[in-house]
Symmetry: C2
Subunit: 346 residues, 2 copies
């Protein structure tokens, strides 16, 4: 049996960092959940593939794959309970569709060029199609959640979407504001990223018939996992290997997003503020050396290391949330996912 | 009591065209439904008005008013049944929010400059905020529909949104295609415009406790009303008074939208095709005389008159759908709305 790409790479990263136990768990996870992942993939593949430009735009992004971490979270959470069902599969697909919708709209807003190692959907099909494709994916996700008929999860998804959009708004308002500190940063990340992870875990738990207390514990696991995941995303924007992340280095920087490593570095070296302001004022040709200078400052001030430490800390808090859940294979797998997610390099 | 602006103007247009009976009905309608309209307006006014740029962007558009024809349809449909309730009010507001969401995204896609006599939201707050504001309004509308707890209407709204987005996609693909004929035109209009009118009437009927057959009759009334409404919108783009429509003349033309009057004129004067192609290739400075030339051709070929005739025909079909509904004041009001909607000049 083939372990899905992302999990195989994740296992590899853990092995590389000496976490051989986690590496083995991840490998076992891949074998164990392979059928769930295959069911999710075939449900995505069975989505309507008509000639409508809006559908083609959405499918362009979905077919590029990605980590499918949110659907995996739904599947694992359902297996903490009484198993992965057709309904859980629809919820898993919905989580991926919502995530994809935000990527489509974000790439229009940020004039994104590359995503998952390929030209962004808006470059291939245009901004208009990408906007409507994002709208379509939101509606398609909600229709699937509706059809799944799992109590509470539709209301929760509508609340989650509300939270995600307000966080996008907050991020927009704080673009280029170097004075935005840690509190504002976490507020944005909790809304933008963690909220969908929370929903994925919560809804998976509901589909698996878990108690309210267990679903809430999973929700809180998702909360910390989501923050940890975003911290690593911030870090990979600055230090990642482009062949693994599928996008260029320093995009957040160029877009004026004040990410966690930057906030830490700004606290430790106020001169960095002037370099960042220069970057934002620069044109394409002169900015590459400035980006390199900023990244050097981040290393020198230990901001990169501290970002990974903070991510590990949040991953540990995620694991703590699992303490009172049924101690089965799926709960164990969620532990491995949390630990591995902060060791990833792509 | 003050009759709402739009209804007063609508009554005036009917009076001007010698339809004094309809004009009186419209005036009576304004008096009769004033409290419903006030309840809808105060619900819109009570929407969250925080500092989030996304909310400010959405509120900018909502506060500019507009005709509020879709909420009026929900209110009237509910009164064909057992009356306008809090739940019906939420559905009415939801219809307006969905309509506003499409305007926000359309204005980004079409680089719209003016809407309701004011700068478009995207010009005031930027494209990014307008995209997220549209997303927010869709989610906010769905949350309200969910809270209203009227059976069937949420599923129907999700299906309606699906239909609307695919029609936007189709419109995008047919932009500038002069060969797109009547069939394609009606396919787009039915999805883009009529579907939301259908939902407004259907959901209002459901909220008013009407039978399935009555709700279906209202749905079909909405179908024909929506098509009639769009035909007049097409016509006003070419012949409207900018102070009444709130937007410049010939926008559809410049955007390459092949509207009904154009299709008719192209059938009657094939030379028009070359003029249209010239317009699409032109820059801003030279296009004004071309637009005037095209409009002259539309008058000369009777395409303008035929468009209004077609709209009147669809309005009559809408009225026919009301035949078996309870013959009360609200049903009578819907008749007047259908007749008046095609006589409007703004």
């Amino acid at each position: 049996m083939v372990i899905p790409d992302f999990l195989e790479r994740l296992g590899g990263f853990c092995h590389g960092r000496g976490l051989t136990g986690v590496s083995h768990h991840i490998a076992a996870l891949g074998q164990f959940y392979l059928s769930d992942i295959q069911m999710i993939e075939s449900t995505v593949s069975a989505m309507p593939r008509t000639d409508h430009s809006v559908m083609k735009t959405a499918i362009h992004l979905l077919d590029l794959g990605g980590k499918r971490l949110r659907p995996l979270c739904v599947a694992l959470a359902s297996r903490v309970g009484n198993g992965f069902s057709g309904a859980a599969c629809e919820l898993a697909v919905a989580a991926e569709l919502i995530h994809s919708a935000t990527l489509l709209h974000d790439d229009v807003v940020d004039v994104g060029e590359t995503r998952r190692g390929a030209p962004t959907a808006r470059r291939v099909y245009g901004n208009a199609a990408a906007i409507f494709a994002g709208d379509w994916l939101i509606v398609e996700a909600l229709r699937r959640v509706r059809l799944a008929k799992v109590p509470n999860v539709l209301d929760r998804l509508l609340d989650t979407l509300h939270e995600m959009i307000l966080a996008e708004s907050l991020q927009l308002e704080n673009r280029g504001r170097l004075s935005a500190g840690r509190e504002r940063y976490f507020q944005i990340v909790e809304g933008k990223t963690a909220s969908l992870f929370r929903w994925a875990l919560f809804s998976g738990g509901c589909a698996g018939g878990l108690t309210e207390a267990d679903c809430t514990a999973l929700d809180q696991y998702g909360f910390h996992l989501g923050v940890a995941f975003q911290l690593i995303d911030d870090l990979l924007d600055l230090t990642g290997d482009e062949s693994l992340t599928g996008k260029s280095i320093g995009i957040d920087l160029r877009e004026g997003k004040v990410t966690y490593p930057l906030i830490v570095a700004l606290e430790r070296d106020p001169v960095l503020g002037r370099t960042l302001e220069r970057l934002m004022a620069e044109n394409d040709e002169t900015e590459a050396p400035t980006v390199q200078e900023i990244i050097a400052t981040l290393y020198r001030t230990n901001s990169i290391d501290d970002c990974r430490t903070m991510a590990r800390h949040r991953a540990e808090r995620a694991v703590q949330c699992l303490a009172h859940l049924p101690p089965n294979d799926a709960t164990q797998a969620l532990k491995s996912v949390a630990i591995a997610a902060v060791e990833r390099a792509g």
